[in-house]
Symmetry: C2
Subunit: 145 residues, 2 copies
């Protein structure tokens, strides 16, 4: 297991332990994590703190040159909002745990030159499959359905 994806999974698991949606993310710059986060819909009543957004927010204000040398790791394919944030800051590489339980805006990212790696990781899939099965309404809320 890639150590950065493991860190994203650790964030997803932390969220699950808190009663939240198990999606985690880390922002990596020059071989270190500068922001980590997880979905905060339940924990903070947030409609915008998806895992990726929480990681970006926790990274604080960064110069453009930093974002442009970052890789974002996320346990689940990024939705349109998170993909839009990736494009805003010009993050060039995204590593995705899986896209089978939810396919985000990957085509939009690719059209704009973002390099995507999809791991189809079984732990990431298992976390989401179980969560969606047990909490279908919550999950739909998180993706605007």
């Amino acid at each position: 297991m890639d150590k950065w994806m493991q860190a994203a999974i650790d964030e997803a698991t932390k969220s699950l332990d808190q009663g939240g949606i198990p999606i985690g993310s880390v922002l990596v710059y020059q071989d270190r994590i500068i922001g980590r986060g997880h979905n905060q819909r339940i924990q903070k009543g947030s409609s915008i703190l998806h895992g990726e957004m929480d990681a970006l927010e926790n990274a604080g204000r960064q110069p453009a040159a930093v974002y442009k040398a970052c890789t974002l790791y996320t346990t689940l394919s990024p939705c349109t909002m998170c993909s839009g944030a990736i494009l805003l800051y010009g993050i060039p590489k995204v590593v995705i745990g899986e896209n089978r339980t939810f396919m985000g805006a990957e085509s939009l990212l690719e059209q704009n030159g973002v390099s995507l790696t999809v791991l189809q990781d079984e732990i990431c899939q298992g976390l989401m499959q179980r969560f969606i099965r047990e909490n279908p309404k919550l999950w739909k809320e998180d993706i605007g359905e």
Copy 2:
């Protein structure tokens, strides 16, 4: 002046008074504001709380049916991140104060069926023109440049 755009401008002005970036937004549902906000880059050290995101966050968790009957008012053309959030929640209508100082992802919104109205309001333009002239580095940071 449209009263909802006036409320968005009030948010932008509030941000300016706080030393922040003068962009404001309100989310309107059934003829009342359910979320209002402004750019929080300076005030909260936030990289994700653009005006539109702050308004969405302050609206709290809403059912999908609510978002799908909302209009979002924003003093400035929404960037890719904010546009992605609009698409995530299926907000069908966006009223934009102006798009001359910054053109956001309007084509992405239109391609996805979002109805846009651009007012080219002189107050909105004046707020941004002056801010950008006096704070070019801050402004570039806010749009990832």
